[in-house]
Symmetry: none
């Protein structure tokens, strides 16, 4: 499963080298999509399909369901590894996540997250301060 934090660079065409460790876990195909808190989610195909069918099955009559489907489904893109182990991130996703040259790839167990380095640092310094606060909330959720 995915854990750890890595710093990698995008090239001028928007390609990102995925840490070699993770490639084996993504051999069967992967999907990137818009995530929460300004980052991208990268799922192994299997995980993705579970999520996607759930989303596609929501009633199209509900505005919130449509909005979320558009965020995640329309935001999604199949990614393939070229023989240097890179994936290409489409322009709209780079823009969404504010990706510049330096980015962070973080392992969140069943998914990867892709962040712009600056945004990641800012987010982290915010959450580290409140960490004990967050911990208490999680306690209420049974963690």
């Amino acid at each position: 499963m995915f854990i750890g934090e890595y710093q990698h660079s995008l090239d001028s065409k928007g390609r990102l080298a995925v840490p070699a460790k993770f490639r084996v876990l993504l051999k069967g195909g992967a999907v990137v999509t818009r995530g929460l808190d300004n980052c991208l989610f990268l799922y192994p195909k299997k995980q993705w399909e579970i999520l996607a069918t759930k989303l596609a099955g929501l009633p199209i009559s509900q505005a919130k369901a449509r909005a979320f489907s558009r965020l995640m489904l329309a935001g999604a893109m199949d990614v393939e590894f070229d023989n240097q182990g890179r994936i290409t991130l489409p322009g709209y996703l780079r823009k969404f996540a504010g990706l510049k040259r330096k980015s962070i790839i973080a392992g969140l167990y069943d998914r990867l997250e892709i962040w712009d380095e600056a945004i990641w640092n800012k987010y982290k310094s915010g959450t580290e301060k409140q960490s004990s606060d967050i911990a208490e909330t999680l306690g209420e959720l049974g963690v």
Copy 2:
């Protein structure tokens, strides 16, 4: 299945090039119709027929059902691909969706959506702000 977001242009005659990726999935025929939230829906023939029979089966006594059927059934139109992979959108649909030159084609798993770029951006900036809110609501639906 359809995923991703693509930016394409209508020509002056109202023709729209469909992303090459998607053409294969629409080879068997397709149907455009009025969608929700100011966009057009584009279905592969098969999906369309499932939806159309569902709509036709709604109780004719209910005003909302009649309205929805008129929106989607009466708005529908068979589309054909020319040998450049373009489809022609009839005037009333272009008008309905407010389509100007630049438009967005979004994959929503079992259908495509066609948006005017400006309207799409507006819609997205609205939903992105509430995204974590929406996510929590959907969490309750088991997503």
